[in-house]
Symmetry: C2
Subunit: 190 residues, 2 copies
Amino acid sequence: VPWSKEHKRATRQRIVEAAAAAFRERGLSEVGVAELMRRADLTHGGFYAHFASKDDLVAETLPHAMAQAGKNLERLQRGAPNGLLATACAYLSLEHMEHPEQGCAIAALGPELGRGAPRVRQSLAKEIRKRLEQLDDLVPSKTSPAVRRQQSAGALACMVGGLILARGMKPSDDCRAFLRNALAEAGASK
Amino acid sequence: VPWSKEHKRATRQRIVEAAAAAFRERGLSEVGVAELMRRADLTHGGFYAHFASKDDLVAETLPHAMAQAGKNLERLQRGAPNGLLATACAYLSLEHMEHPEQGCAIAALGPELGRGAPRVRQSLAKEIRKRLEQLDDLVPSKTSPAVRRQQSAGALACMVGGLILARGMKPSDDCRAFLRNALAEAGASK
DNA sequence: TGTACATCAGTGAACGCGCGTTCACTGATGTAC
DNA sequence: TGTACATCAGTGAACGCGCGTTCACTGATGTAC
């Protein structure tokens, strides 16, 4: 084996990381394979030694992007007690609004992913379910599972929609007020 | 004037209508000018007699799509008293989930529009503000404007996010449960 | 009323370009002897 | 320890294709006389 397994794994990872940032920043269709490989300091022909197709990469990039966003959101919480409100507060922050390339992939790419190839859609559905389960655990456990799921579903919807809408108003200042309002309302029912 | 103003206006409108449906169904980048013109029973060369560019068309299509979605949602309410809850109920319905091509353009295209040309972004921001104002009027008017805006912001965020997430889980059945949960939670604070 | 004309919505071929993907190749590496 | 070899990650040119846009044109129309 001329090259170590580790080497190939690391290169592949570099491509995924470049893709995770580029896709969230500029959209799936707007970023080509050539640009991705350039960002990973490779030439575009080598792409197919690692992935069967661009769709393949997208499906694989999504979980990576979501995991990375999760870490960044945790960091944004900075020691706040780990509840639904603290999570929503980090999610609906100016930092998250201004940095889609490091943030939630559902907010950055949700509708596009939903229209993608079957394997992409499956990956998306899986990530949504995972996020819902994570939020379930943040609702006080004395409540019934059904009520917990209701609250986590509402919170996730509010967070994703709130972030997309805030970004949609972004050059203007009222996106800040909107973030505050969405967060206050998300927190009001908890 | 060899052709009536009315004729040109009607043709232009046909293009906008074709675009409004096609974009929401398949995405901005995925639908080309040629396909749009084919859908409007025209040849693609004629496009530039009506619009300066594809971006131009996108910016103009957005308000049309939103107005059409508004009418469809009203129809879905079917006489229910016209409050925030009835609106959310129509918005988070199975019908809306299954017909993005006739539904809210923000839920179908929000993130892509947000990354678009300046004139597209402006059009998006304007539509978001308009929707917020419409929702403001549905909150009982005895409450203060600030509280009303908080409730409408939260409701809009919940509706948009809820619909995107439900569509993201769509081939599976649990998207129905998710819609119910998001709606119940959106209604809980009202 | 009939005809010549000017207008311009719509046609369809063509433009350059970047896309996703393929492929013959190169050259750094670990292994065999 | 030194050398010949097989492997395969990465290179870079090339593929066909569809994109947004341009342009010379056609032909249906309302107007002028």
